[in-house]
């Protein structure tokens, strides 16, 4: 059994930052998945007089078009989660592949792939997204593509580091000597041990993805057909002084989601890295 699963199972549970992180992230996932149940209102539909404060019928108030803010946040969670998952899938696929190959092969290919990684790491994602959306038009698909194709370096590095250390281990070399093809060795022995570190990186990066999507929505480059937290924050801008709930709740939602993902990442890091475990305290 990979060491990290054992560690996870035997650690005494206490209210650590990691626990809070898990809770928040889980909340995000649940809200996103059950959006239709939690707020069975179409977030785009005008259901009440505009700019009504939080009340029993509309827990988080309504916006300037009379749309329910709670519905907007809950469905926005779904959009955010979708974006995060898609980007993570894309970035991880690329990152794991490249990192594994680089770490396993070493030598010239490693050098080349690392150069490529450095190159992509340099690209400022937000500005590239702005350029792409300005040229191609707004849409979640473009956003996912841009962010996915530029977020993999961190994953690749981590996977490569783990692969490098693991590839020299005896059991791997034994498997190799016994004739297992490289891919199988990688998949069965190397990657399961490399993945936890990758998950840490991915969860922290997820927070950044959400912030970027919100930032793009804030400057008006979001997808007009998808309710997203960035769109809500952009909309709320004009009404900051007269309808505080329009800005407060989306902003709080973003903050909690990003916080949760960061804490989750920290918690996982603490779990896996013995040094980190000693110095962590939350």
């Amino acid at each position: 059994m990979p060491g990290w699963i054992r560690a996870f199972a035997t650690t005494k549970p206490r209210v650590t930052g990691g626990a809070v992180g898990i809770a928040l992230t889980l909340a995000l996932v649940i809200v996103a998945v059950f959006a239709g149940v939690i707020a069975p209102v179409d977030p785009f539909a005008s259901v009440a007089p505009p700019l009504t404060a939080p009340s029993r019928s509309h827990t988080l108030g309504t916006d300037d078009l009379g749309r329910d803010v709670l519905a907007g946040i809950v469905h926005g969670a779904r959009t955010s989660l979708l974006v995060v998952l898609s980007v993570t899938l894309l970035a991880s696929t690329i990152g794991v592949s490249i990192g594994a190959v680089a770490g396993y092969r070493a030598g010239g290919i490693d050098d080349l792939l690392m150069r490529l990684t450095e190159l992509v790491q340099v690209v400022p994602r937000f500005f590239l997204a702005v350029l792409v959306i300005a040229l191609f038009g707004p849409g979640l698909d473009r956003l996912v593509l841009v962010l996915g194709l530029t977020s993999w370096p961190a994953v690749a590095r981590v996977v490569r580091a783990e692969t490098l250390s693991l590839a020299r281990r005896e059991f791997v070399e034994a498997a190799h000597a016994l004739g297992s093809p490289a891919v199988r060795v990688l998949a069965r022995h190397v990657l399961p041990n490399a993945l936890p570190a990758a998950v840490v990186v991915v969860s922290v990066n997820a927070g950044t993805i959400i912030l970027m999507e919100a930032g793009l929505g804030f400057i008006g480059l979001g997808d007009p057909h998808a309710i997203s937290w960035g769109y809500l924050a952009n909309n709320a801008q004009r009404f900051l002084r007269v309808a505080w709930w329009m800005a407060l709740f989306p902003g709080a939602a973003i903050a909690l989601a990003v916080l949760g993902l960061n804490l989750l990442g920290d918690g996982l890091n603490e779990l896996l890295d013995p040094r980190a475990r000693r110095v962590a305290g939350l």
């Binding site: 785009f44 505009p50 700019l51 300037d64 078009l65 707004p138 007009p224 004009r238 007269v242 309808a243």
Partner: protein, 540 residues
């Protein structure tokens, strides 16, 4: 005794003299002089020459630097500005203007009729969209028999001239600065020389434009202010915060949600007006692309009109500031506005009935499906797109809601202005869109271009619907030749009755704006571009 009374006589005489002597001359107006006014503008204008563009940003920032031949009063009627008097001859085919004497440019050179002729021929008629579109075809020539006289000769009587000679529609630039150069790239565009009440002092890109009092301004006693600073603050919310924090004194437009608050605050004054630097008397208008098979049927268009709750647009997007459009021509032009028209009222049942009759049946899904609609394959769902500036996204959302309720699926397509214009007017690649069509001070300027068949693209903001009606064309042509108000009014009424039946557009709401300023300042004229010509600010 005699001695005691003696001093009384001179005293009484003195009193009598003092009583009957003329009162000492007191200052005619006790308007405070001096001070700095800080104005918030939405965007960096790029340059300061309002004669080569109709961009609101440039006009807001730069109109105070110039004058037109005429100005406008609160009702929109013409006032003397650079021209002190005028006569209309030959039934409106000839206009003769007598220019003021002693007017100088900011660089000291004298203003003459040659400047006017040059501005129209070499600048306005080449680059100013509205002037070019309206006057361009009608003008025969401009003569300047002497330095103080300008004569406009038209091929036929031209009615609206007097309303399009202000600093917004026809600002006069200096011939000695622009002659022989390309007006679009002349460096004077950022270091302007005008005749206006304020001169440009500095222009820091992206930050602010500073204007200073013109001491040689030709209107005595004006302007009162020493300086005006145009601060570039793109975010409307920040503008309001800046006003409330005392950093800014004047806002061109207060966003809806803040209006009630500012109106109730004794520290500020507000005024509503339909005039805007980019164009006045604007109506948010939905266009139908009449080339599209689904929209060719007038019943479909009528159904859409019935499905839209225009009052909801007014309340939810404009927060009640404005009016539901009662006719195709803005109510601000009372003489041309057809008040008694009955445009389709909000009636979902009627909309559904009309769609059914037109062959769009409600079946399984959310969107209606075509059954026997000319030019549309049976089974096609009723889905249309809706193009708009990103700033008008709310209109798209309400369109989607209201039309979705009757089974029409709407896809919003936000497009930046520079992409919107060719997509709609050159390529005609749209089903519906929303445009803020500004009627201008006269229907000839901003209304004709929406309906006349000669105005169907590719120039932007013309006849988006692609509407063709010979009768309407003829009526517009006749109206532009008729100078008297009453017969002109009748012609415009006829036009409005016809288009209200044909429905090439749905006229949603009229959009005035609310200006706001600090109470210690006053004297603003929100109905014109020279809004601060007579403005003052008391020292706080």
């Amino acid at each position: 005794m005699r001695r005691q009374r003696a001093p009384m006589v001179p005293l009484v005489l003195l009193l009598v003299v003092a009583w009957t002597a003329p009162a000492p001359v007191r200052a005619q107006d006790s308007t405070p002089r001096g001070g700095i006014l800080v104005v918030a503008i939405n965007a960096d204008p790029g340059h300061l020459n309002p004669a080569i563009t109709t961009s609101g940003a440039t006009h807001a920032a730069a109109e105070l630097i110039y004058n037109g031949l005429l100005g406008r009063d609160e009702r929109g009627d013409p006032l003397p500005d650079l021209a002190e008097s005028w006569t209309i001859e030959q039934g409106g085919a000839v206009y003769r203007f007598r220019l003021r004497d002693g007017v100088t440019w900011h660089d000291g050179k004298p203003f003459t009729a040659a400047d006017v002729k040059f501005t129209f021929e070499e600048v306005l008629l080449k680059f100013h969209a509205r002037t070019k579109a309206s006057m361009g075809g009608a003008l025969a020539g401009i003569d300047t028999p002497d330095d103080r006289t300008v004569v406009f000769r038209f091929k036929q009587p031209y009615a609206p001239l007097l309303l399009q000679l202000d600093a917004t529609e026809a600002p006069i630039v200096a011939r000695h600065v622009y002659q022989g150069t390309d007006a679009q790239t002349n460096p004077a565009n950022v270091n302007p020389v005008g005749t206006g009440p304020f001169k440009a002092v500095s222009y820091r890109k992206g930050a602010e434009i500073r204007l200073a009092r013109n001491p040689a301004y030709f209107k005595p006693g004006l302007p009162h202010l020493d300086e005006i600073v145009m601060r570039i603050i793109p975010d409307a919310g920040t503008q309001v915060l800046a006003l409330e924090n005392g950093e800014v004194d004047f806002l061109w437009g207060v966003p809806g949600p803040h209006q009630a608050r500012l109106k109730a605050d004794a520290r500020f004054r507000t005024a509503q007006t339909s005039y805007n630097p980019g164009g006045s008397n604007c109506i948010m208008t939905v266009s139908f692309n009449l080339d599209r098979p689904a929209l060719k049927d007038a019943r479909v268009r009528r159904a859409v009109a019935h499905a839209l709750d225009r009052n909801a647009f007014l309340q939810q997007i404009l927060f009640g500031e404005g009016r539901v459009a009662a006719a195709p021509i803005s109510s601000e032009m009372a003489w041309a506005h057809a008040g008694g028209l009955s445009l389709p009222a909000f009636d979902r049942a009627e909309a559904a009935r009309l769609l059914d009759a037109a062959g769009w049946k409600k079946e399984q899904g959310a969107a209606r499906v075509a059954r026997g609609v000319a030019g549309v394959a049976d089974g096609t769902p009723m889905a249309i797109d809706f193009l708009h500036f990103p700033a008008f996204a709310k209109y798209g959302e309400l369109m989607r809601q209201h039309l979705g309720a009757v089974g029409i699926e709407v896809t919003q397509r936000p497009l930046e202005p520079s992409v919107f214009a060719p997509t709609v007017f050159k390529n005609r690649a749209f089903d519906t869109n929303v445009i803020s069509y500004c009627n201008g001070p006269d229907p000839e300027i901003g209304v004709r271009r929406m309906y006349h068949s000669s105005q169907i693209g590719p120039a932007p903001f013309t006849n988006a619907a692609g509407y063709r009606n010979d009768k309407v064309d003829a009526l517009f042509d006749q109206a532009s030749r008729t100078v008297e108000r009453a017969p002109r009014s009748a012609l415009y009424h006829q036009i409005q009755e016809i288009v209200a039946q044909d429905l090439p557009y749905v006229w949603l709401v009229e959009t005035p704006t609310t200006r706001a300023w600090a109470a210690r300042c006053g004297g603003f004229r929100p109905w014109t571009g020279l809004f601060a010509e007579a403005a003052f600010c008391k020292r706080s």
